[in-house]
Symmetry: C2
Subunit: 167 residues, 2 copies
């Protein structure tokens, strides 16, 4: 708390007025970066049009671009994960978040399957695959920007998920 | 350091004799869990036989099982990642580790492609897909063991990667 108040140039009293403790700051930070990520994905999907395959491609590209354009998103995720490893309340918040993301991606899959764009798959499991690949590849981009670039990563993720969902 | 010496029931002097600082403990912990993960993957691949597709399946299953059987592996990874976000030396160690893993998985892909089991792919990029999916799904298993079980996760990852590499 002391370090945060110094960096933010506010008194510790003011900081404590808004945030009871370190956990409250972390929860607020997670909420803020999730809102940012959501807004980026929604904007990309608004541009891509209503087609499920195009919306999936937009999700992939927007998620991976954050690793470069909004590095703080992944810094906050990783800091939150480290803290939640010994904090059940934070872990419950994260589990809720992942359940929600799998449900959102699952709805996209279901739409694509209904329209005949994707093969029939169990939507929540397919969502776990998509979310897993995006998390894992975004982490590699965040950890080591020299390994490959966002455009390359977007291409190989779209190829992998395209093949996964192809009829 | 104080907390570690208390938990390990050794004096701070002894702890400082073996580890100069917190960073040195983290690096040693990462080395230990990587050795554990390597040994589990090698043992599974020794049982699976020399066939590239079977060795890939063994890699998938052994990696995902650690999320349940050796939870400390993922706890150490996540703690290490959190720390390295503001430590260039730790980040370089992690980048080296990921390069090595992509190279190892890339060699497996190359072998399978040569034998006609996998379609021709750029081995390092295919390795980034495989590593990304395994990291991402293992994180979901570690974060929320209620969401799906290891057997289910192994099945959907094998299906996704099987389709990705199918000729």
């Amino acid at each position: 708390m002391k370090k945060v108040s110094r960096e933010a140039r506010v008194s510790q009293g003011i900081l404590h007025y808004y945030f009871a403790d370190k956990r409250a700051i972390l929860v607020a930070a997670l909420g803020a970066v999730m809102d940012d990520l959501d807004a980026r994905v929604r904007a990309a999907q608004a541009r891509s049009g209503p087609d499920a395959a195009a919306r999936l491609r937009a999700l992939i590209e927007a998620s991976l671009r954050t690793a470069l354009e909004a590095r703080e998103v992944w810094v906050v995720f990783v800091e939150f994960w480290g803290e939640m490893m010994h904090d059940d309340r934070l872990r419950a918040i994260n589990a809720g978040l992942y359940t929600r993301m799998r449900r959102l991606i699952g709805a996209l899959i279901r739409q694509g399957t209904r329209r005949g764009q994707f093969r029939p798959v169990e939507p929540t499991r397919a969502a776990a695959v998509i979310l897993g690949l995006l998390d894992g590849v975004a982490l590699q981009l965040t950890f080591d920007p020299e390994a490959f670039d966002v455009a390359t990563a977007t291409r190989f993720c779209q190829e992998a998920l395209g093949r996964y969902l192809a009829r």
